[in-house]
Symmetry: C2
Amino acid sequence: MKPKGKATSFDIAHFAGVSQSTVSRALRNSPLVNEETRRRVWEVAKQLNYKVDKNASNLRTQQSSTLALLLFEDPTGDESQINPFFLNMLGSITRACAKQGYDLLVSFQSTSQDWRADYEDSHRADGIILLGYGDYMDYQSRLQQLLSQDTKFVCWGATVDGREDLTVSCDNYGGGKLAAEHLLQQNRSQYVFIGDASDHSPEFFARFKGFRDTLTAQGLALPERQIANAISTEESGYHATRSLLANNIQFDALFAASDLIAIGALKALKEAGKDVPGDVAVIGFDNIAAASFISPALTTVQQNTTLAGQMLVNNLLNLIKGETVTDTLLPPKLIVRKSA
Amino acid sequence: MKPKGKATSFDIAHFAGVSQSTVSRALRNSPLVNEETRRRVWEVAKQLNYKVDKNASNLRTQQSSTLALLLFEDPTGDESQINPFFLNMLGSITRACAKQGYDLLVSFQSTSQDWRADYEDSHRADGIILLGYGDYMDYQSRLQQLLSQDTKFVCWGATVDGREDLTVSCDNYGGGKLAAEHLLQQNRSQYVFIGDASDHSPEFFARFKGFRDTLTAQGLALPERQIANAISTEESGYHATRSLLANNIQFDALFAASDLIAIGALKALKEAGKDVPGDVAVIGFDNIAAASFISPALTTVQQNTTLAGQMLVNNLLNLIKGETVTDTLLPPKLIVRKSA
DNA sequence: CAACATTATGACACCGGTGTCAGATGGAGG
DNA sequence: CCTCCATCTGACACCGGTGTCATAATGTTG
């Protein structure tokens, strides 16, 4: 036939001997169109390798069957490495989208800059998923702006002031508790926490609270000096641990707010000649792939990323459909390996 | 003003007291429009939080400023884990797209099923990036179909019959050579290769050839029995190594076609009581994050993913613009750590 | 002052679908 | 034979921009 340019529904109409309207209906399997006609139209469409023009279709129907994912990175200088945990989430979100027949637009955002969250305004996406370690609290005003514009979005980790339903997250408090309980069972006596014990990062803070509260309930204190700050990188965990050791803090149990931090801690401990888990038991959080490779294999609190991705996508789609959504807390799970 | 629904250029026109045509021109900074008018239009647009409707715009201009990434996974049963190397690539591709002002649609494809490569046909993307370990050779016919439809695409790793310009890849042959040379320098005498020495996976095969050819040039053979097949997973590398050991193959140097395979091999060697690098030197390929965490830290051949992402995006954009593109081979780099 | 170039703007067709409405057709029922 | 209804189809407006063309307003030159 005519191979000039891409085929349109008018071309199909021409070859099938029907009107363009009928082509449109036939291809969407409308019950209004005759069986024989439908067959013929599909036949021609296949021959011409016709695909509906999404731009035209979206324009008319005012929806894009596309979601946008904004991935917030920790502000490390290093551009190339992304936290594997988020990459896992990305994977499960992509899959969840595909399963629902949605496409996914991915973009990386730096927390330090202004975000590009205009995917909905420009009709490129029906809704937005915000993914990060929740440390975009400073951007609460941006979130409120999204709300006021009636932009549909859901967040991982971070809470949105005044709204309980837009957040999907792991039960970080419960996860901290799991870690504390496991260490308590081993009769460890001197605990340290490495992460962020301020409420700057809501997720890390919840893990910290769950951990500390469980210890205090057993009469064990967690004084200021046994807490070290770190962002979620191996580097940062390494240095935080070194400074604890340099300050002669005694400890036989270490809870890191993320696996990357824990991996950095293991390195520092090994360098200091400490045996893990003999001298110090170490527990991480996330269960990234590297946790099982490293030696000693890392005991950690697992987040169910597959489920998380599904919940984010499902909640967002429900939000778009105008249904009410309830906030979602996913249960963490302790994965016991060698380090504790 | 009127907060009902999203603002259109007609709304802007109304409030700015000009025609819609002028709004469109003003917002795209056309030189045809008066400075004062432009200012006023921008002012109103900002107030109404106006964003150009991408569907309308794309429909009219017949381009989407969007690229699509098809990520082919190794056919492992496990859905949740993706090869970290590809996730790195995904990261750099995303960044490269953003830098060029393009959005990126991401989708995972299973090599075993039919792909969904209709992103271009449906005008959702201007071009497609295919990313995988090149083991989609069986799909050469699909690639040819894409070619015949005049779909713009570039591939990582895989070659496209009859076209040299659509592929960006690492110099895998050179990488295999680097590995062999490094091991030769250490006077290792008995070599094994774990990966895929058939040409099913073109990338692995090239690494194998570079490795073997360098050895043969030094008078060292690499007989069939010193080659074990594995796909790119830790699991697979582990089992391949175990079977080598079980068959009493003697070796003091191991080259794995990917880091995941190498990590699995390290595990098997450790279990067998072999010291690395004392008894066996191990070299991997890719330089994924886990390579530096694992103990002993893995010596490996690095692929420059940042550059790779940029080249893929740039080549694809040039292809779309109708410019000629030359094929691209990226130089690998040996990262020496503890394992060899 | 006529003739013409320059600048700024509006009217309008167009991109390729979707949804609504009117109308053609054919069979059933009175 | 006429009416009524169910079934199927085509004409047409519409989504919200972009690009072309015509035209008004202003300045420039002989």
